[in-house]
Every structure is written in structure tokens, then in C-alpha cells.
Symmetry: C2
Subunit: 347 residues, 2 copies
């Protein structure tokens, strides 16, 4: 193995400069490094697939957030799935499939200290495919699950609205809300996405914000108002939903993809006083807070995948590290359909 | 008594037109009516003092809110304290002091149906003065108490920031937070108000937004960040506090006095994504939801008034109904110092 390893080259995408607005080629630098054998206690992982998420745009900005920004010159942070190709740690063997945060590169060398901090974990492909482990069984699925169940606390019969409905988080939220006995209305861009969440995922309705009025759609499809709004987009859609919320409504702030590439300040929800009128609550979620409870949620989701109550859709883009910049931007143009995954190597 | 009653004239202020921006003389119409004897089951109340509150500006606007707007031509809605001068209801006797929503007029005729709906209640002047019953023992006090305790859930050692600190709600919030073992920082306009909440009410600090930077004040006086923000003002101050909140912070949305006279849309909090980063919560309060629990809270506040742990300040303006329009506007210019009360008759 050692002989083979040392001939390998690791291709990487690094943050070259902080973007203003949408990221361009100038924000990235591609580098090559020799692959080294792991030191004592370390593990070497060959990256199979990377998760591309809206939150990555935030990590590229300077300033305090829930995690530090990616430093200039650093390999871009990204979650992903890989296979162990060399191990000097007793808990990991060559051939194990693992989940973690390898970054945008082909080989992830995990030092002993990081292994000890549980930065990688073995995953069971019997529960779901590599790409499902980046979707409903991964961070987006956990975000949707805990955001809806813990922050939203859905009750049977309530109306749940979710934006970015065909996205990774949205598809989980909608399906878990259906399983919880709620009426579920999605908001998504384009007829194909809207059809899919209704026909395949069983949402009660979906509003196409690209061709219709969100306001009219909410009137039509939420005749009893909105009890829970799971917000992935911010901006005008958040403002419109605020006009339709019920007493004691819960708004889960998960993201604001409409605002991430702004060069002007974020648009604040000008209808926020609807929270006062309706004694409603707007609350943020960061998935890492629920890490202790991932295993139980994963088991639950895997059971739903198995019994058919939950489906998943991934938008898998081949091309590896070189294709990363263009693929990431698909998220912000809304071009992706389903959880966006960058394939780095064949599983 | 009957002979006397029929010679009385009731002066009233009615909403003549909905204001655009700050209310002016053109928005009000003054009327006179003969005072009639109460019908069976009814009560006639002579108004002693009216509560002037920021929320009144909202009641003057058209559109859905937590209560219907005041209709054009209707006596302006206002809470107040009065004395029973005639009664055909067994629970009320001449001379009883009562609290309710008499509106801006000198005599309040309460029909039987309204009495049955508990629209007026007897108050005990041994617990507090007439004007304290409009302040810490009244709606503002209840708003501050339940907003802080139920929505904010303060823990000893936490830092609580309250805007409109010298106002009716603010003074209650700050003092209850101190009693709860919190560090309390007020935000108010002018040195006199700031001095008063620190020296008299025992706040740990107060930021004068008129002469200083709220951002710098928060840095200086909240070295451990902000756990609870009780917001009475909205606008830029809300946005600034959002940059200083802690993990799991609670923001109580009680009002937005900076926005009530806007002729442009309300300014949404552009830093609302701080809720996401900090897994924080922004929640509205409407005091009426806690009506069942007023008696216990009043008893608690009255005990604090008695043992000196709570003080109150009212800004009592004489002049009766005719003085109502100008007095109301003092709230929005920040001219009032303490709970603003319009005196209608001598107690």
C-alpha cells in the first residue's frame, strides 16, 4: 500500500480571495500535493463525494459566525464521504466508508488528534447510498429533522410551509412533516421541482415562486394559515409568509440563500411585527448542536427510506475537484434539483 | 343621584381620520354627549385617569392586528381608571374604583353585556395609587412581567437589555430582571432618564441613545454579551443589539415605537440572521394572553412596591380629554418621562 500511496497526487481547491457577491474563478486556487502516509494514529481517506451546501457561501466570508471562516489559502471546507485507504488507527480499517469534513480535495489526511475528536465516523451503506449519506442521512437531513421536530414542534393537523422544498433540507422537512400528520406546502422554483415534491414526496401542494405569486399560493393552499414555516431562503418569501402566520406560529430560520450573494446588506423581514401580533416565534437552528442525537435520527430516517415513507433525490455532478466552482454556483442560481453532490471518485 | 347625572355632559375624543405618519389635530374630533343613567345590569364610571401607550398608534391604523382597529367616528380606545358613579349591577357600588378600557372620554357607560365579559374590574388602592394601577400594576406592568418572565425566562447572572428603559414597560422589565438576579442594562433617551433608571431603579447601566453610540455602550456594559433583549423600539437599536446577542438568546418583541409613525414600510431587522448563528429566538408578546394570571402578578408587584424593591414613575399630564392629542404625541417624541398618564378628573 505504501508504495502505491506515495505515487498519488492530491488535487485541491483552495480559497484564494473572499468573494464579493457570487464567487468567480478568481476566488479559487487549484493546488497539487503528494499524498503522504498517515502518521501514528492517523487515517488517510480517499474522497468519494462532497456535499455542496448554501452554508458554504457564508464560510467564505470574513467575520464571526457559528464556525470560523475558511482562511485564505486554506482548502475549501466541505462535508463528504470517503473510503479509508490507509490507517494507523485501531478503529479504522482500509475499506471502511467514512463521513466527515474532508474539504474540496481528493485525499483527506486525518491526523490522530482529529480522529480523536470524532471528526470522522464510519457509515453503514446498508442504511443508504453514499449520496443519501450526504442527503437525508447527512447534515441536510439532520438539519431538517431537528429544525422541524425540536424547534418547530409540529402537531398533527398543523400546516407546515417549507421553502427550498426540493433542496436537501426541504425534502426532508416536508416528508417528516407529512409523517408527523401535517399539511405540507412547499415553495420551489420551477414546475419540475414542484411536481416532484407533490407527486413523489407527497406534499399537499407546492408553490412555484418563479411563475406564480407566493401570496396567492399561500392563500389558496394554506386556507387555515401557516403554523410552521421552515425558511431556507429569506428575503421576499420570508416577508410574504409572515403575513400568513397563525397565532403561536414557529418560524425556523435555517438559511437565507436569497441573501448570501448580496453585495448590499441582508434584507431584514419588514413584516417581523407579525411575530408580535401573532405571539409567534422566529428561531435559528444550527445542526451541530444536535450531534449527540444524530445516531437515533439517522436510524429513524433509514427506517423511513426502507419502508418507502421517505424518498430522496440527489443531483450528482461528476468532474471532481476541477468542477467544484461551477457546481457550487448552481445552488445559488437554483439550477440544482435535489441535494447537490460533487462526485470526486467512483464508489 | 339620578337628578345630578342627567345634567352631566360627557366630553369625548373620537378618531376622525386615520393618520399618515404622526397624528395631527385633523385626526381627532371632539364631541359632547349627555350622560345617561345606566340600564339594568350596567354601570356608569367617571373617568379619573387614562393610560397613553405606544400601542394606541397601531389601533389607529386600518388592518388586521391583535385587536380590531378603532373605527372612524368611534371614541378613541384607551385603558383607564375610574370611579363608579351609578350602578345597576350587584357587583359594583357607587364609589368603587375600577379599571378597564373607558376610551378617551369623561364618562364611561358600561352596558350589562360588557360588565358580564369582565370589561371592568374593581381595584384596591391599598396596593397602589390610581396612576400606579396604570403603570406597574396595570397593562404595562403586566406586559413587562409576563414578557420577561414567560417569554424571556431570565436566569440569575444573565444579562438583560431593555429599550425604552424609563418607559412604563421598561421600568418594570428592568426591576423584575434585577429581582431575578440579572445584570440589567437600559437604553433610553437623555441623561435624566438614564440617571433615573440607574440611581433610582438600580439598573447596572443605561445607554443614552441620543448622545452616545448604542454599539459602544453595549460593548462596554455587556461584556458577557446579551442573553435577553426586551425590545420596545425596533429599528436601528434592535439591529444593533442583534450583533451582540449570545447563544440561545431570547428577544422579546413588545413594540417598535421607532416605526409606528413611519410613512415608509417598517424597517426589518437586517441582522436577523444572528438568530441563526446564535440559535436565538425572537418572540412576540401580547399581554391579553396572560389575563388569567394578572391577579397573581399584581399581588407580586404590589409586594415589591411595598417592600421598596420596586419603584414607579408616572408622567401625569392634566388637562383631560382636550389635552389628549398633544399628550399622546409626547410618547413618540420621547418627551414623556415615566408612564404617560392623562388626568381626566381628580381622584
Amino acid at each position: 500500500m505504501t508504495a502505491t500511496l506515495t505515487t498519488l497526487v492530491n488535487h485541491q481547491a483552495r480559497l484564494a480571495a473572499r468573494p464579493v457577491g457570487m464567487a468567480t474563478a478568481a476566488n479559487w486556487q487549484f493546488t497539487e500535493e503528494a499524498v503522504a502516509e498517515p502518521a501514528e494514529g492517523g487515517v488517510l481517506v480517499k474522497v468519494l463525494a462532497l456535499s455542496l451546501d448554501p452554508a458554504m457561501r457564508g464560510w467564505m466570508n470574513e467575520g464571526k459566525s457559528y464556525i470560523p471562516p475558511v482562511a485564505i489559502g486554506e482548502v475549501m471546507r466541505a462535508g463528504g464521504i470517503g473510503r479509508v485507504v490507509a490507517s494507523k488507527h485501531p478503529d479504522f480499517a482500509v475499506g471502511d466508508t467514512v463521513s466527515g469534513t474532508p474539504g474540496v480535495q481528493e485525499y483527506w489526511s486525518v491526523p490522530a488528534a482529529q480522529v480523536a475528536r470524532s471528526s470522522l465516523s464510519k457509515i453503514d451503506l446498508a442504511l443508504g447510498s453514499v449520496t443519501q449519506w450526504l442527503n437525508v442521512l447527512g447534515m441536510p437531513g439532520m438539519t431538517g429533522y431537528f429544525g422541524l421536530m425540536d424547534v418547530g414542534q409540529p402537531q398533527p393537523g398543523e400546516t407546515v410551509v417549507v421553502s427550498g422544498a426540493a433542496g436537501a433540507v426541504g425534502q426532508t422537512v416536508g416528508q417528516i412533516a407529512k409523517i408527523s400528520g401535517c399539511r405540507v406546502v412547499g415553495i420551489a422554483g420551477g414546475a419540475a421541482k414542484c411536481d416532484w415534491v407533490v407527486r413523489e414526496l407527497g406534499f399537499d401542494a407546492c408553490i412555484d415562486y418563479k411563475t406564480g405569486s407566493v401570496r396567492e399560493g399561500l392563500k389558496q393552499h394554506c386556507p387555515k394559515g401557516v403554523d410552521i414555516y421552515f425558511d431556507n431562503v429569506g428575503g421576499e418569501i420570508l416577508d410574504t409568509v409572515l403575513t400568513r402566520i397563525n397565532l403561536k406560529a414557529r418560524i425556523i430560520i435555517c438559511g437565507a440563500i436569497s441573501q448570501y450573494n448580496n453585495t448590499t446588506p441582508v434584507a431584514g423581514p419588514k413584516n417581523y411585527l407579525s411575530l408580535l401580533v401573532n405571539r409567534a416565534r422566529m428561531e435559528g437552528i444550527v445542526v451541530f448542536d444536535y450531534a449527540q442525537r444524530y445516531p437515533l435520527a439517522i436510524a429513524e430516517m433509514a427506517a423511513y427510506l426502507k419502508d418507502g415513507r421517505m424518498k430522496s433525490k440527489e443531483d450528482i455532478v461528476p468532474g471532481g475537484v476541477a468542477a467544484f466552482p461551477d457546481t457550487l454556483n448552481k445552488l445559488f442560481s437554483g439550477e440544482n434539483f435535489g441535494k447537490l453532490v460533487l462526485q470526486v471518485a467512483e464508489a
